[in-house]
């Protein structure tokens, strides 16, 4: 068998390129500013010289002989006629110029002082601190740049000024890069550390370019358009400019042209070299394409979100992945994901043929590449022989290849049920945004999953798409299954509670199934139970000769053995629950004895029952419970049926009158307040102005109006109302939403204040100037059902828009905050002795979180919940009911 030697990169060292090194690594000296000749062949010594690598398939590299995918590309070089400064080092050049003597090249500080600084540098070097080193360097610079007479050669130096972007002047006289270079050459090696250079890797004169490296062609490939037209890369364009000006400069220099012309050309060369490195240098007009678009040169390639670092190095494109729209599937387990057959045929897992899988793979190969059929049977797309050669499997050669298959071959088999894949939805805000699922291949074209998993992904089905990645190695699969599987991520590390749970109709369904323990006809009951895998049916009750199941008995079927629990449900309100019992959920010996199952029992991140099952029975059992729960809910609601419509908000005439009364009354109250205010009868509240006092009083009155309308609405709308059921059980919406639909929408606010901007002294021309009454400042007394009048509609839209703006601003701000947080904390890890260390092994915490507890294993933040333990261990012996 082939033995793979894995190589790793231990460290990376950065350095400057010296002119010699640029020449040494160069494969060709580029002298022609052209790329291809008329026949489309690269010009010798041109910018596309084949010695710099190949980009066209079929051709071979002149330097290494490799083809497109083998040749890494080779640098070329340009000999510059006159030296130019490197724009990235302008600051350093300036500081070196001002801190060294122009005559002898020493740092303008007495020997004694230099020694002192050296000692300090050596000192800090031992302790490895770049920041301290930087501080010393800048200290040297500020000290030395003030010295006029060089203490070494007693030469009187003149002040150097930087004329941005690239010109240096000494007492008004221009310093050419050539002169700067000459000065830099005089600087002693020993002085370099004090001016911030490592003598082992850099010389100051290397910051002035005399030789210019030309990047390999595969860094700047030519793009051939469909029309056959060729289009050069931005970098190539820039290089053309550099060579062209360089040539003219050389010619003029050699001919002995006037100094003025040479200087102009020199400046132009400097401009092109500058924009080649960075086309966004302040003070330099960016070089532009013919179309007016500014060129993307080196710095632009690296920088920012779309730059090389963030776009190609920190995040990479991958194979074995798929993306499509998602949709719900309550019959899948939470650990599963439905993958469309079409995608499954494209996504493959590479398996090596061993004794153990020989027969299985043989069968798979026989299936061929697969075709559309009722039942999905995985096939094989490619097979690799031991020597690495590839065979594409078709229907024709399938059985032939299957027979020939040997141990050690590799088979690219299509996805099959049970494969482990990673599933992800962006934005990936926390680790539960990417979890491992088992594949279940399904027909149609969407990814599907259990609704309980919506919460961690923050997914809904209004067109959301998600990504899927097929794992390729055994280690990866094992790791994913142990650490990333959905059931292993029940408890959120954010708060140490379950983030998955029943949502929307699950809650409604189980609520209806258990609220007041309804009688369910035998057949319907059996239908419901047929959705779950149960070993027995509960004892039916007989009333008037008909057999019924009790709803709670059906629900109890899915509880694991030994559940004893009592907690408060959402139905604390006696008005809805005349006997006052439904709000207390009591489970004794895995039998739901009392109470209606609602959000507080099974909802996401607050379901007490779910939490209990998870902690007591573990993740696997928890997953099973949730699976059964969602299935049972589907069964239950398909028996009851459940819908809501606008007529849910119909209230009787007397209620309507009451609501209108509430609206009018509040408006009048506001009028009264304003009258009092105008008459000066309102006293100031502490810390407020008179106007503020009035405003807050008005706001109070108006918010009371909405509360009252909510009360009226809930009084007339009872538990026979779908909307109320949803609100009360916690499935969706709340009573306030209902009141807004049936009663009064209420005050529309902007930044927490009543609406007040718009025209002079009024919000809209519909009101009189100076009107600060309820309606003139955005109070809406209509309901959604009635409809809003035009001014109300306008204010409502204004308020709504604030919300939209808020969301837009918030997402970008919080996204950036999270990026910064992650970047600052990403390297922290717990050491084997429980401390928290960073990359340099600095101790951040002596014990993680001061008690060493992993929040995702905690009991809502507590390492151990003593009361729970006492109850579990001794039952009701101690404490009893709480």
């Amino acid at each position: 068998m082939k033995v793979e030697i894995s190589k790793g990169i231990e460290e990376l060292k950065f350095a400057l390129l010296s002119p010699e090194e640029i020449r040494r690594m160069s494969s060709v000296k580029v002298i022609t500013p052209d790329t291809y000749d008329d026949d489309g062949y690269p010009i010798e010594k041109g910018l596309m010289d084949p010695s710099m690598g190949v980009i066209e398939p079929g051709l071979k590299c002149k330097t290494c002989g490799g083809k497109v995918d083998q040749c890494p590309g080779h640098f070329g070089h340009i000999e510059l006629a006159m030296p130019v400064v490197h724009i990235g080092f302008i600051k350093e050049i300036y500081s070196i110029l001002s801190s060294t003597c122009s005559n002898c090249g020493r740092i303008k500080l007495p020997e004694e002082k230099l020694k002192e600084y050296f000692l300090r540098i050596q000192d800090t070097n031992n302790r490895l601190s770049d920041i301290e080193y930087d501080d010393i360097v800048s200290e040297v610079e500020s000290d030395a740049s003030e010295v006029v007479i060089c203490p070494h050669c007693h030469f009187e130096n003149q002040k150097v000024a930087l004329d941005k972007p690239t010109t240096f002047r000494e007492e008004g006289k221009k310093l050419t890069p050539k002169e700067i270079r000459e000065r830099f050459e005089k600087i002693q090696k020993d002085d370099l550390p004090l001016i911030g250079l490592d003598p082992k890797v850099a010389r100051p004169e290397w910051m002035i370019l005399t030789v210019f490296p030309v990047p390999p062609v595969n860094v700047r490939p030519t793009i051939t358009l469909e029309t056959g037209e060729r289009s050069e890369d931005d970098l190539t364009h820039k290089l053309v400019d550099v060579i062209r000006i360089n040539q003219r400069l050389r010619e003029n220099r050699d001919q002995g042209s006037p100094q003025l012309i040479i200087e102009d050309l020199w400046d132009l060369l400097q401009y092109h070299v500058t924009t080649y490195f960075d086309n966004q240098t302040p003070g330099t007009p960016p070089a532009r394409h013919r179309s007016g678009r500014s060129l993307k040169t080196l710095v632009q390639r690296l920088k920012g979100k779309e730059g090389r670092f963030r776009s190609n190095l920190s995040g990479k494109r991958v194979n074995f992945s798929a993306r499509t729209v998602i949709s719900p599937e309550p019959f899948l387990s939470i650990n599963q994901v439905g993958v469309p057959a079409k995608a499954a045929r494209e996504l493959t897992v590479t398996e090596t043929v061993t004794q153990h899988n020989f027969e299985k793979l043989k069968e798979l190969i026989k299936n061929g590449p697969g075709k559309e059929e009722e039942v999905y049977r995985p096939g094989v797309n490619y097979v690799y022989r031991a020597d690495g050669s590839r065979i594409k499997i078709s229907d024709k050669n399938a059985s032939e290849v299957a027979e020939k298959m040997e141990l050690g071959w590799q088979v690219e088999r299509q996805l099959e049920d049970g494969d482990i894949v990673l599933f992800n939805r962006q934005p990936s805000l926390h680790r539960m945004s990417m979890m491992a699922h088992e594949v279940k291949v399904l027909p149609y074209r969407t990814f599907r999953f259990n609704l309980a998993v919506c919460a961690p992904y923050n997914a809904d089905f209004d067109g959301d798409e998600m990504n899927l990645h097929v794992l390729q190695s055994q280690e990866a699969r094992a790791e994913a299954e142990i650490l990333m599987k959905v059931q292993e991520n029940f408890l959120s590390p954010r708060f140490g509670g379950p983030i998955m749970g029943a949502i929307h109709d699950h809650i409604t369904a189980l609520f209806l199934l258990t609220y007041r323990n309804p009688l369910i006809p035998l057949e319907a009951g059996l239908h419901i139970m047929s959705y779950v895998n149960v070993s027995h049916t509960p004892e039916p009750v007989e009333i008037d000769g008909k057999k019924y199941f009790r709803g709670r008995d059906i629900f109890s079927l899915i509880l694991p053995e030994g559940v004893n629990l009592e907690f408060r449900g959402k139905l604390g309100d006696k008005s809805l629950d005349p006997n006052g019992t439904e709000g207390t959920i009591r489970i004794e010996d895995s039998k739901l004895v009392n109470g209606a199952i609602d959000e507080n029992a099974i909802g996401q991140s607050k379901g007490a029952l779910l939490d209990y099952v998870l902690r007591k029975y573990g993740n696997a059992e928890g997953a099973k419970f949730l699976d059964n729960l969602t299935r049972l809910a589907a069964g239950a609601i398909s028996y009851t049926g459940f819908s809501t419509g606008i007529d849910d908000e119909d209230v009787p005439g007397e209620a309507k009158a009451q609501l209108r009364e509430v609206g009018n009354e509040s408006v009048q109250k506001v009028e009264k307040l304003i009258e009092n205010y105008k008459a000066g009868l309102i006293g100031m509240e502490p810390g407020k102005t008179l106007e503020d006092t009035l405003e807050s009083m008005v706001m109070k009155v108006l918010s009371q109006a909405r509360e009252k309308s909510s009360e009226i609405a809930s009084h007339y709308l009872g538990m026979d109302n779908s909307t109320v059921i949803m609100a009360r059980s916690g499935a969706r919406a709340n009573m306030m939403n209902l009141a807004q639909m049936a009663g009064i929408i209420g005050q529309q606010s902007i930044r927490g204040q009543r609406q007040h901007r718009g025209y002079t002294n009024r919000t809209l021309p519909h009101f009189e100037k100076g009107d600060i009454g309820a309606y003139a400042r955005g109070f809406v007394s209509s309901s959604y059902k009635e409809g809003l009048n035009p001014t109300e509609y306008f204010f409502h839209a204004t308020g709504g828009r604030e919300g939209l703006v808020d969301i837009a601003v918030r997402t970008s701000r919080s996204g950036y905050m999270q990026r910064r947080l992650i970047n600052a904390l990403e390297d922290l890890k717990v050491s084997e002795d429980g401390r928290v260390l960073d990359t340099e092994n600095s101790v951040i915490q002596l014990e993680y979180g001061e008690d060493g507890t992993d929040p995702s294993r905690s009991f809502e933040g507590e390492s151990v919940n003593v009361n729970y333990l006492i109850k579990e261990m001794f039952g009701n012996k101690y404490g009893g009911k709480k």
Partner: protein, 513 residues
Amino acid sequence: MTTLAWKDTLKKVKEIIDKAPIGYCLDYEIPAEKSMKEALITVTGKTFVAKAKISKITPYKNEKNILKKKKDKLKTLVMIEKIEEIQDDIVNYEEVNGESIDKILSFAILTRKEEAKIELREPMEGKLSGEVKSVLRQVEKEGNSLPIKIAEQLANAKKQYNIGEKDFDKLLKVTVEKYKETEVDPFEAVGIVGAQSIGEPGTQMTMRTFHFAGVAEMDVTLGLPRLIEIVDARKTPSTPSMTIYLSEKAKGDEDRAVGLARSIEATTLLDIADIEVNTTEGFVLIMLDKQKMQERGLKREEILPKLKKIRMQKTTITEEENEIKLSLDEPSFKKIYQLYESLKTFQVKGLDGIRRAIVKFDQKAKEWVLYTQGSNLAGVLELKDVDFARTKTNDIIEISQVLGVEAAREAIIEESTSTLHNAGLNTDIRHLMLVADMMTFSGTVEAIGRHGISGKKASVLARAAFEITSKHLLNAGLIGEVDRLNGVAENIIVGQPITLGTGAVKLAYRREE
């Protein structure tokens, strides 16, 4: 005890260290009446590098076997018996006459400053009740440990439910077991989890600022902007504010509370008076507003002496009933306006930075509490009637300056917890502690971001990948930086497994023959 101190070159110091015991000649005269047994030498003028034991100080005499600080103008000979390298800050010393110094220019005679008494914080155990202690002892006996909080809960439960010894032993055992189960795994990426746990709820927060405790005018930044402010380690928060608690004696007394509130509000002259400039005759007229003065609890008599402090040359102050006239002896247009400008912002009373203070009665604790707009912790803590143990500010940087970096850490934790809590979000405190620790572990409060932690990372690649890419790369070339690829970002860039979690361990498998 007095100490001799002088500035010298590092070379000389090394020489003395090499040759000690030896005589050393200084170019200063040292008063003979001072008896000094100790000498400190500084090189930078800011920190001492060496401490010497001296036996004798005599006027300079040229002898053999002595070292000289200079070639000539020597005045004193100091016999150095023993010398050792030390690291000590000059700030810890003061001159003999009691004046503090911050730099030694040539030489000085110093005494060590009396240090503030630092009492070790009473170990937690001292505060624990006997029951809790015994629980902890019992756990320790078996070589295990429990957080104090859990031990307290156990002790409480034992007492409350009257749990029998046998059952309690069982309970204890299970508790310890459960506690062990919750331990974090080695190499867990706690940083990333923490950052995610704080960042993820950020999307659910509001951007708005809310009125504070029903008091208009006193906005307090809350929600996402506040959270961002905290991790930014902003120099001053956008809405600095303090909560000032009063001492045992004063907290029930409304008058004292109101008096205190008035006395700390920074009141400028403009707040209580109209100021008029008369350029033709060259004077400034301050017309005091009686009502406003009363509101602020100021008397006319108090203002006058303060005004005299204003640094304007040659002004004559004449006062009438409610008017104060400041006339320049040599009127000039420019000067009169200078005077006017300085009068406008002239602070008559109160503490710098505190714009407003409001008194509220806390119904629960039955005490008067001051809420302020603006913050001045150092000033407030010095006031009588203030309970400095409970008083707090939301300005984290100020806390770190006044109370130290440990207090700043607590403040970061508390401020971020309450911000998240106010938004109705539930985030484990451990994540916030980790962020706070990361921001403070270097000894100063550092921001999360390119100017703080991220800009100081060891890895070039990680820095380049975050922000300001080209600068980091170019600079790395100059100083020949080495990236040792220890962190996450670097390894992803070069395409290697990261050093956290399962990537931190290597697994070797020996095949059975």
